[in-house]
Each structure stands twice: as structure tokens, then as C-alpha cells.
Symmetry: C2
Subunit: 306 residues, 2 copies
């Protein structure tokens, strides 16, 4: 099914390199386009993936370390130059508004469209977006400054009718929606037919969890329980555990432990410190898979379909 | 001579594309490294050209439209992460300090090094840097907001002694510096030897002028008179003259007229609007060379030696 996909725009950490760009990911969900984080250079990464800037209607910023938002002002400016008029929803820590405003003031300009700010301030997980078939919740993280991850949860999908049963039990058209939602059916003769005789179960609902940046934090496990795909930062290898602790980051073993305990279906890792080279990647996988076996490394241009 | 060179990091205009990055140029002058403007993505462009971020000690920001400075905060942050401790001199319009400060405040951080701000406020050309063999002056531009170009002028170089004359006239060691600066020499016999008999003239001093962004402005001509290499923005072709006027930008004919009237040795053009494709470049050259014949188009990665 190609209606829920994750697109890696930037998978690096604080220091941009030629290959690794700072954090940014695109979520496509049934034609809607969401951006999580917006490190410097995200605009160009979007162009490389041929994503129209104007299709992005919701942007989620995890925290205000520069490698997660320095590309935002440029993207917002480009949306303006490209003639955007539709509202843009921005979920972010409060000071981001001041950062945007002071730059607009300096250039004596304003955007042609409206930014609808949704300030994140709670230290508890909260629902921040509730749409027809999607819910987005925050995942409060443990970092040097206030930070949230985000989990995108497909709402439970309706069951699917068994076509032959419609005819067999003479089920009228108007009764079908209630059955799809799990109800039974009473026949003309007054007999109750249980739902599982009338419907197939649908695929389970899918979900995507994004956790960056954070120290190891078990408190997030109930929020991401049985997530389909979990992105969890893995800034360091085990040898640098002391630095990870000091900087409120995770090692790959931390990330793997979270994925294991949350019973995630798959773990995606990234945000490696710039000190590591590509030749260190096997070590990331080796350390991680000692705990949890379904791990992949996120790279610029990767697309993951759920 | 390879001790005065211009390195194009970004030659595009407001909308970044895959090929064209926003404005940024590096000036290397006898081992010193200066950055002019710092559009989004400048860090990565510097890495591509293998320039150490820590070697840049002076940054000049022409004006506060985003395509000329959105990459600065990321570069400054990276300098901090890379352990910079040396002062950084920043020549810029005053509001840039607020923009930097509000972002540092949001991340609860400060840099390990000191930014020495040199605020540009004058509407007249002024000298802003005076070093051993280099002077930098502002070039007040005409744009939607307060903007300056910059001219880097090598100071007049000393004349070179003719070695055989030192012996012939028995010129003592201590008298040489004054002669190199243009003085005559009095022999033991009391005879005055004019300077041109004692010295060779050196190559003429070189200069580099950067003018972006600006409408056509003849007032800048005396400031850039006989400049060795002039970069002048040429955002539009003649067909878009009305848009150029409205947005305080130049057409390539404007740029060529300035170069001609200033008697520049060579003209470099860039900052083309994103509406133009590479297939339009010959038209830029065609229109420009109808006025002035030594024009080159600046492209990312280009190096111009003076």
C-alpha cells in the first residue's frame, strides 16, 4: 500500500557534511504532506525529491536546536515567493515565532499567507492533530532543551464486507456502514448474525514514530507501543556513551532497546554524530542488532512505505 | 599571481534550486579568507571547496534579505561546534545581531567565541577594514532595504629595487625602504638619483567589487572606478525591465553599463532570477556584451584569480 510513506530529506546531526544534511523528513499520508523538522538545506532536498513546497500544509518542529529548524525560514520565504496563499500550520516550541518575526521585520516584509501557530508546551503526550483517518500525538523527549517527537497514527480502519453475505442475508444498503464498523446484523427472521461472519478484518492500522533528539527514555514506550516504523536517533556508538549522556543523546543500543521494549515492527536510525564515517555504519548495525533485529539506517533520499 | 582570488559559493537569487545556491562568495587575499554574504547552504558549499570554517575571520553581509544571510546562523553554529575560539568580525546591518541573539536564546546556548559586530549604517561609502596591504570600503546600493556592496582594494605595492644599482651607488641597507616607497637617493658625492633609475615599478594594485543587490545606480561609479573585477547582479533580462525596476534589481544591460562607465577590467554577473534556465544564459551574455565586452557568468565552484 503506497498511501503512507516516510521520505528522508536529512538524516545527519548538527554538523552538515556533503553527504549528510541536518534533520528533515516528509510524511505522505493519503495525498497529504507533512514535514517533520527542517534543517538547513531542506528546500533543496525537497526539490531533489520533486516535492512541491506548496503541498506542505503542516510542519512539525521537534525542538529549537539549529540542525532541526535552520532551514525553516528559507522554506517559508520560498513558499511566499512561489505565491502561497493557503494557511500553513506550524507545530513548534513558542520561541520559534519570535525567530520568524524578527527576520521578517529585518527584511521589512511579511508573507502572503498566514502561519497558524500551534505552540507545544506540554510535558505530557497530547494529541495535536485529529483528521479524518489520522491522529498525531507528541512524544515528550528528554533533551538539553524542550523537545518532542511525533507519532502519526492511522485511525482504525473499517472492516470489509464479505460480498456474498450481503446477498445471502439480504442486508439492506443502509445497514452496511454499521456492520463495517463492527456491528452485527439482525435478519428478517430476528436472528443475530455476528460481525465476523459478515466481514473480513482489514489490515491493522499503521503508525510512524519520530524520536529525535533524545536521551534514553523509557517513559515514551507506552506512547509508541507496537508502532509500525520507529525512527529513533542514534547519535553515538557505545564507545561514546559518556558523551551521549552528557549531550542528552542516545547510543544505537539505547535506540534498539526502545524499539524492542515498544515492540516496534521496524527501527530506523540516524542523526549519527559527524565524527563517524560511512565505514562505521556496520558497527551501528552490529551494536543495534545485538538487541533488536530489524534495523535500517536512514539516508538522504530513502523512502519507507508502511 | 595566486594570492587574490574570488570563489563563487552561491550565484543564484532568492529561490534556491538544485544547481543554483543563494549568494555567497569567498575572497582569499594573501592567506586571509573573507566571506561576502552567506545564503542558505553556504556551509556545504564551503565543504565542497574544502575551506576550513575556522579560517574565515571576517564576514560581510550586504543586506538582510534572506538569500544573503539565511545560512549565517548555521555557519556560526558550526564554527562553535568545531571549537572556534578566535574572534569573528561581522560587518552587517544592525538587526542581524537581534536575529542571531534570539536564536541563541531559543537554544539556551552561546558561542565559545566572540562575534565582533561592525554595524553598517552609513549611506555614504566608508572604509570598514584597513589592514597591512588591503582596504575594504562599502558601496552603498539602491535596494528595497538598506544594502551595501563591498570593494576590496589592494594597497599600492612598493616598487622593487634594481639589484645592480644598490652596489653601483653603494646604497646602505637602511636607505632601501624609503626608496621602495618611491624616494630618491643622495650619493656620498651629493648627487640625487631619481627613483625611476633605482627601481622597477610593480604590477598595479588589484581590486574586487561586489554589488548585490541593487537597482541601476550611477552613484557607485566613482567608488569602483577602474576596478579589476566587478561582480554586479544581473537579476533580469531586458524583457523583464519593469520587474527589475519594481524590485530594485538590475538587468544585465544595467550591469554592463556600470562596468563600462566604471572602466572595470572585467564584469562578473549572477543573481539571475530563478525564472531563467541555463538555456537563457547566452541571452544574458548577448545583451550584456552589446554594451561591454568582457563579461563572464558566475557559477558555483568558479574561482577567479586577480
Amino acid at each position: 500500500m503506497n498511501n503512507f510513506s516516510i521520505h528522508i530529506l536529512g538524516s545527519g546531526s548538527a554538523l552538515p557534511t556533503i553527504k549528510k544534511r541536518p534533520s528533515a523528513q516528509l510524511i505522505k499520508f493519503y495525498g497529504r504532506v507533512f514535514l517533520i523538522d527542517c534543517g538547513e538545506g531542506t528546500q533543496v532536498q525537497l526539490r531533489k525529491q520533486k516535492v512541491s513546497f506548496l503541498k506542505i500544509h503542516h510542519i512539525f518542529i521537534s525542538h529549537l536546536h539549529g540542525d532541526h529548524y535552520f532551514g525553516l525560514i528559507g522554506l517559508l520565504s520560498s513558499m511566499h515567493l512561489l505565491g502561497r496563499t493557503k494557511d500553513l500550520h506550524l507545530f513548534c516550541p513558542k520561541p520559534l515565532k519570535d525567530i520568524i518575526d524578527v527576520q521578517l521585520k529585518a527584511s521589512h516584509s511579511s508573507f502572503k499567507y498566514n502561519i497558524v501557530y500551534h505552540f507545544l508546551e506540554s510535558k505530557q503526550s497530547e494529541i495535536i492533530l485529529d483528521e479524518k483517518n489520522l491522529e498525531v500525538y507528541t512524544i515528550p523527549l528528554k533533551h538539553g532543551i524542550y523537545a518532542n517527537g511525533f507519532i502519526f497514527k492511522e485511525k482504525p480502519r473499517n472492516r470489509k464486507m464479505k460480498p456474498d453475505k450481503i446477498k445471502f442475508y439480504e442486508i439492506p444498503h443502509y445497514a452496511i456502514p454499521a456492520i463495517k464498523e463492527g456491528g452485527s446484523f439482525i435478519t428478517k427472521e430476528g436472528k443475530e448474525i455476528p460481525n465476523d461472519k459478515l466481514t473480513f478484518s482489514q489490515e491493522p492500522s499503521r503508525s510512524y514514530g519520530y524520536c529525535s533528539d533524545t536521551a534514553y527514555r523509557e517513559k515514551i514506550i507506552p506512547i509508541i507501543k507496537q508502532v509500525t516504523l520507529l525512527y529513533h536517533e542514534a547519535t553515538f556508538l557505545e564507545a561514546e556513551r559518556a558523551i551521549a549522556k552528557k549531550t542528552f543523546h542516545s547510543t544505537v543500543i539505547d535506540a534498539a532497546n526502545i524499539a524492542k521494549k515498544a515492540e516496534a515492527n521496524k527501527l530506523l536510525i540516524g542523526h549519527f554524530s559527524a565524527r563517524y564515517l560511512e565505514s562505521d555504519y556496520p558497527t551501528f548495525l552490529e551494536e543495534g542488532t545485538s538487541i533488536y533485529n530489524n534495523i535500517e539506517i536512514a539516508s538522504e533520499g530513502d523512502v519507507f512505505e508502511l
